[in-house]
């Protein structure tokens, strides 16, 4: 359950280390400390339910920093990623991910 004020780990090699969720959608740009940036959540500690009845839970809440179009800011991604990202058209992230589960 990612809410505003939730701290998220950053799973790529953009220079962010930790994010705090402010709100759920769009805005802004470059990458400095206490900048407002967009990130997409790739794994949650809260279970995810899938249509085939599978329930998945990850070990941490992680996010990947993205830009306006949804392309990741970094060049590498660490850790496993939820398959839902493929359906949401985050193809670049999915292709960089070491494992999609």
């Amino acid at each position: 359950m990612i809410q505003p004020q939730t701290h998220l780990n950053v799973a790529d090699n953009s220079r962010a280390r930790e994010l705090m969720c402010i709100r759920e959608a769009v805005p802004n740009t470059p990458l400095e400390r206490s900048e407002v940036i967009t990130a997409v959540i790739i794994s949650t500690r809260k279970e995810l339910k899938r249509d085939n009845g599978m329930i998945i839970r990850y070990d941490d809440n992680a996010a990947v920093v993205i830009d306006q179009e949804g392309n990741p800011k970094g060049t590498q991604i660490f850790g496993a990623i939820a398959r839902e990202l493929r359906q949401l058209n985050f193809t670049k992230i999915v292709s960089l991910a070491p494992e999609v589960l």
Binding site: N52, M54, I56, R57, Y58, D59, D60, G79, A80, P98
Partner: protein, 191 residues
């Protein structure tokens, strides 16, 4: 288990629907080793991308408590480790994790289903034999002790007068003429 991606094509008049049914796989619970059927249990993905399947919240909670399944008595891991259950058998080799999906072949599927039933029966028979053999020594021991107890406690079964008249030892199976008061003293004897 053979698992395949099945492409089912429905023809409804002019319209052709292509339904891609997703692969189904029966997993093993990481904690208790029982099968996890689709729609059951939780999968946990650790940060090193190792997946743990759990069949129910009991196993999941035990995992969160960091318990070692090899030390928890009701798990298959414990039972196999301590020789309670059969570990090595040729029937186990039929069930292996196969990652290549096979093209659907009706004959193959039919034969596999038949084989699964048969192998299952053979394996469970062998497993129960294993347990029976394991318990045999205990059973023999208990019978021996029962016999000894009968010898020592024959005065509880037969009236001393009757015993004096007929000194041969009577085991419970042989009918003995005892009065009502005597039969109540039979209770402390083991079954």
């Amino acid at each position: 288990m053979i698992s395949d991606i099945v492409n089912v094509i429905f023809c409804l008049g002019n319209c052709v629907l292509l339904v891609n049914l997703r692969r189904m796989r029966l997993e093993k619970c990481w904690f208790c080793s029982s099968t996890v059927y689709p729609g059951h249990g939780i999968q946990f993905v650790r940060n090193d991308a190792k997946i743990f399947h759990f069949c129910r919240s009991k196993c999941h909670k035990n995992f969160k408590m960091k318990r070692n399944p090899r030390k928890v008595k009701w798990t298959k891991a414990y039972r196999r480790l301590h020789g309670k259950d059969m570990t090595q058998d040729s029937t186990f080799e039929f069930e292996r994790k196969r990652n290549r999906p096979e093209r659907y072949d009706r004959n193959l599927a039919e034969n596999t289903l038949k084989a699964i039933k048969k192998i299952d029966k053979i394996r469970s028979d062998r497993a129960s034999d294993h347990i029976k053999n394991r318990l045999k020594t205990g059973k023999v021991q208990r019978q021996k002790e029962a016999r000894k107890q009968l010898e020592l406690g024959i005065h509880l079964v037969k009236a001393p007068l009757a015993l004096a008249q007929d000194s041969s030892l009577c085991l419970p199976k042989i009918k003995v003429n005892v009065s009502q008061a005597q039969t109540e003293e039979n209770q402390p004897m083991e079954e």
